[in-house]
């Protein structure tokens, strides 16, 4: 082991999560600091992702670190047939940290095993995207003052949604209650139900976006229902308008409720929700930067206190 990396949200236990979130709170109060002065961070984006890359690069820049890397595999030597191993070995000799997004699943775990410097997984195919989960957890912690004993309603594509699966995993340390709201075709996989059962986490399943699911929640986590996920387009036409949140649907929701979304949003949250103080998805995206600052410093062994 030796070198610490963040590949999977499961790499963090309850204490790790709280340590990072408390650090992220401090970065939110004071994000412009000299902590990465003289450090070089490599952002290797074999698959383009503007939002995630800019969030990481801004996080590093605000701490006075330098960035090298590429934002598209087309401009990297992988187009010449170089193996991932060789790219990682080479970059690991140049940089102090590697932040990587790759379309192949498991690529981040492999990179972390061969890299001489810490690796942060910024998404490996449809497998893991742990910094998204950490920023979700930070936003929940920030708005609720705790992560413990909350009711989380998750809506939309629960079958393929990577953010959803990792969120369930990340929250599992904190005695949550889940409401899973999804159409028949995109319901939560059995694997996650078994996971909840084994950890004695209570959950309810809904196929309708019902008032009960909304009004019992502390956090309403919306996700996109993507047309390309459906084998039966008739089914998509039937459900596409069911899982849309309108402002009036929040009328009887809890005072402390916050609406989150990993973004990009398409139609699943109507724009009339944006003005509601319970809408928190833009702040959530902003929190990504502070959370990433906390994770970067933690992995590099840099104390920010």
């Amino acid at each position: 082991m030796g070198i610490k990396s963040l590949v999977n949200i499961g790499d963090y236990n309850r204490d790790d999560i709280y340590r990072i979130l408390k650090s992220a709170s401090r970065f939110k109060q004071n994000p412009d600091r000299d902590l990465l002065q003289g450090k070089v961070c490599a952002t290797l984006f074999f698959e383009p992702s503007t939002r995630t890359r800019l969030s990481f690069e801004t996080a590093v820049n605000r701490l006075r670190g330098r960035i090298v890397g590429f934002s598209d595999a087309a401009t990297s030597s992988s187009t010449k047939g170089e193996s991932l191993k060789d790219t990682i070995m080479m970059v690991g000799n140049y940089a102090d940290l590697i932040i990587m997004r790759h379309h192949l699943e498991g690529s981040a775990r492999y990179a972390s095993e061969i890299s001489p410097v810490p690796v942060i997984n910024a998404g490996d195919g449809s497998n893991q995207h742990p910094t998204q989960t950490m920023l979700d957890l930070f936003t929940i912690y920030e708005t609720q003052g705790t992560l413990d004993n909350l009711t989380i309603t998750i809506v939309g594509d629960l079958k393929y949604g990577r953010a959803v699966h990792s969120l369930i995993d990340g929250l599992s340390h904190f005695s949550p209650t889940f409401n899973f709201v999804a159409p028949e075709e995109l319901h939560i996989p059995d694997k996650y139900k078994t996971f909840c059962d084994n950890k004695q986490i209570p959950y309810k399943e809904f196929t309708e976006f019902s008032p009960e699911a909304i009004n019992s929640a502390d956090i309403l986590y919306m996700t996109r229902v993507q047309k390309e996920r459906f084998t039966d387009l008739m089914e998509y036409e039937k459900v596409k308008n069911i899982y849309i949140l309108y402002n009036h649907m929040l009328d009887d929701s809890k005072e402390n409720l916050k609406v989150l979304h990993p973004l990009p949003r398409v139609k699943e949250i109507d724009q009339d929700v944006d003005e509601n103080p319970k809408a928190y998805y833009f702040e959530q995206a902003k929190n990504g930067m502070y959370t990433r600052q906390a994770i970067i410093c933690d992995l590099m062994g840099i104390s920010e206190k």
Partner: protein, 150 residues
């Protein structure tokens, strides 16, 4: 039928009995028997009281290492292993699936890094009874009937 032997007896070596019919040639491959010069007898679709039909492999003058034998558990978890010396069974063994399987099978996920880089595959055994595995890299779960050997 009586007690008539369906496959000739072995003087010294290893007899692997009660192999499910569909797993016999996978066992051959897992133990790399095709590379041995030893005398090998392979029987398949033999009558069995317990299983209806079974396979058996006898390898003369060969005593496998434990980790080699345990690979068999991947495709045939309930085989009987008999170590034979001087026509006598001196030891009976059960195969035990190890906690981790390295290199001998491939990941079923085409988007897994192990199918795209020159590297060893690695799997965690998540259920030894049912033979369920999880790729160490892409985390895909693989059931016994989905196992594809390299």
């Amino acid at each position: 039928m009586g007690k008539e032997l369906q496959v000739a007896a072995l003087e010294n070596g290893t007899a692997i009995d009660h192999i499910p019919g569909d797993a016999v040639f996978k066992v051959v491959s897992l133990l790399q028997l095709q590379k041995l010069n030893n005398r090998i007898t392979i029987g398949n679709n033999l009558k069995s009281n317990k299983m209806g039909s079974k396979g058996i492999i006898k390898v003369a003058d060969k005593f496998f290492r434990e980790d080699e034998l345990n690979r068999i558990a991947l495709v045939a978890p309930n085989v009987n292993l008999n170590i034979i010396r001087n026509f006598e069974v001196v030891e009976k063994k059960k195969v035990v699936l190890p906690d981790e399987i390295v290199e001998i099978m491939k990941c079923n996920n085409p988007k897994c890094i192990t199918n795209n880089e020159p590297m060893k595959t690695r799997f965690h055994v998540t259920d030894k009874e049912k033979v369920e595995l999880q790729c160490h890299y892409c985390e895909v779960k693989i059931k016994k009937e989905e196992v594809v050997l390299l």
